[in-house]
Amino acid sequence: MKDGPMKKQSWPKKNVDVCIRCATCMAVCPVSRVTSKFPGPKQAGPGAERFRRMGEPSVDDWIDLCIGCHLCDMVCSSGVNISELNLLAKAKYLDEKGRPFRDWLLTHSYLYGWVGSFLSPFVNFLFRNSMIRWVGEAILKIDRRRKLPDYEPSTFRQWFKKHRSQVHQIKEGDHPPFKKKGKEGFEHHFMERKKVGYFYGCYMNTNEVDVGRATVQVLEVNGFEVILPLQKCCGIPMLGNGNFKGARKMACYNVPSLLKTIVSGSDIIFSSTSCGHMIKHEYSHLLSIPRADEVALHLFDIFEFLRNLKELNGLDTHFKELPLKAAYFAPCHLRALGIGLPALEILRLIPGLTLDNIEADCCGMGGTFGFKKEKYEISEEIGRDLAEVIDRLKPEIILSDCEGCRMQIRHLTGLKVSHPIQILRDALLPETKFTL
């Protein structure tokens, strides 16, 4: 491969000795900013690493407080992969200490999500019941102040199946599914369209179906046919909880399946930046999954993909006016992708939409971090800084690419929070009417 990845051995897993102790990472760590229980990335990463020995027990019981945001990696001029050091140490610590059933429950939602969806009215009722939440906190140590996300009555996969058959029916009647306005270059007929694979992620599938719906609709308007490669949870909840074995299992399922789609000529897009970051950057190096680097080359964030289309003048920009005051928050894992803020760039093309960028470091949710009783207060405290910025901006709606961030912002502000793709869809499709 000519422009392929750099040789792996040139990128060490542990490069503590290049740390010059400059403390720039201390200026951005969201956790050490709000609690003195965590000593911060400089100490927790390269500092403590020098005292860690294989075969000797862990001494750093605070390592579990690293939220895994990667902000320290991003600001380090010496290129120390601090959060990776933390993750390895966390895994070792939790291997020794043992993981509560709660952690298993929080990281295996892909196993029971369909039940939640099937019994959604009942499950949602239970989740809202304060008695149940009290019991959940007492037994499972899931903080009762944290609202558990509602399940949707039908999954994204179910919607997609129905949607596909509808689209095919239209095709048979010789009507293109969406009329392409302007520019030539894209096929009108569905079957001849360029295919693009979609890694949708388990949370969206059962809890935020409209995000997937919007992603599919936007891609179809732009002349693509969306296909769904076989997929399981990307494994980031497990990895975040130091469960390398479980995460590797997920990755070993996903990589061959995504590769199959790629080899057949399609790229893969994702709408959840955490899933995307996991597959693109953690599978290959941290988990050493064979051929994960090939998947990474063909994996794109949905807005990165649309921005690429725009560069090629292939993006449908016939947006209708959307008079709305929105604020955008870039998730940590999006920033860690190193692609800039493509959602912001694309959404700025929508007439009438006022869009502020929320200048804050981290939302504090950290995936499953914010659910845990012993971490809830840290999570909320981190989020408070973000909520304060939102309070000053006074937006009607908040946009963020990550489900964890959306969950946390909803929890802290009570405002409507969407994925930016939903707004783009609203501006693009004539039939949807935006309602707050």
């Binding site: 720039t24 003195s36 600001v75 360029k194 950057h281 990474a296 690429n308 560069e311 860690a336």
Partner: protein, 420 residues
Amino acid sequence: MNPCILEPLKERMHFDLIVIGMGLSGLMAAKTATEIGQKTLIIGKGMGSLCLFSNTIDVLGQLPNGIKMKDGLSHWIKDYPGHPYAKVGVEKIENALSSFLSLFPPPYPFQTIDHRNCLLPTGAGTFRPTYLIPITMVGGSLIKEGQTLFVGFKGFKDFYAQYVADQLKCRGVTLPLPNTSYEMTAIALSRLMEIKSFRENIGQEIKKHLRHETQVGFPAFLGLNHPIQVKENLEEMMGAQVFEIPILPPSIPGKRIFNRFKEWLIQKGVTFSLGSSVSKVITKGKRCEGIEVFHPPVTTSFFADRFILATGRFIGGGLRADREKVFEPICHLPVHQPRSREDWFEKNFFAGHSQPIHQAGILTDLSLRPVNERGDQILENVWISGTILANHHCIDEKSREGIEIATGYMAAKQASGIST
């Protein structure tokens, strides 16, 4: 593997200008280019040294006391024609500083004390000359014996009030922090200072310790976002003037500068990529065509018409050294440096003058384009800015931020085709 549609498409990510480096110089270059209307990408491996050294804006701290900066710079340029300032010229240095100042309107403006260097106290209890200072530090330039109370906190290791106070013949007090069992960091304290109840406790506690002092000096952590609100609120509570003292890294005032640039650039639509390491530049003859960014395991290319290299010195990663020589790792530009390793340092480390290694850097022509020792141009569409430039001793001259701002500004003007 079959070709995928976005492979060729991805290659087309094209900009007018790519700025490599996210320190003060790179940020300044990106701002200047954006104002001219250039489609800009700024890419940085890390935050540079803004959050390390920079609290105030040094321009030329080495000048003798009392000299107006403009006059001092004019003389300096005459005496050191190879210095980066000589390439920019006094007028453009002024323009660059004005441009920087325009980014910081009230309530957090920077100012000079009568267009001369002023002396500010440091965390070591010494005085240090500097030029543009944030309004939160102005009080420090007015210290009088016995008139200032210095405040430190138990568990905060980066500032010892008593030590500073002894040096400056004033009093110091170290306060216990409520509800903290471990040590505290500057960033955590700066956040706490922005919480009203915490601040009020601190203010009331200090008031008890005040005798006849008219000023209270704090380590520079009076809030990351609203330092003025913190300062004014404390002043009101204590009835004394409050000021900040620059301390050890990380620098909260430096982070305020970084955050403001970041906010402005993103708002103006600049593509802002922090944490991305440029692994290679793509050149064709004397032209640079693009950069490759290696984010394991993916290598992404970005293309542009023009480039600014503002990667800093050893700490920023712009210069690196092996056992024999200093080299520039991205563009592989020749580095002007002492002949051999033995000449890097003076025999006596405390000789009282600058170490020769600090003068190492990239040589440029008058327009800041890189040249070799003979003066031949190496790349025609690359400009160099910031401390990576050769022929300055920013540490001894106390000129770091001035060089960064002035050359960042000038490089962007040159690269955008608007010079003189």
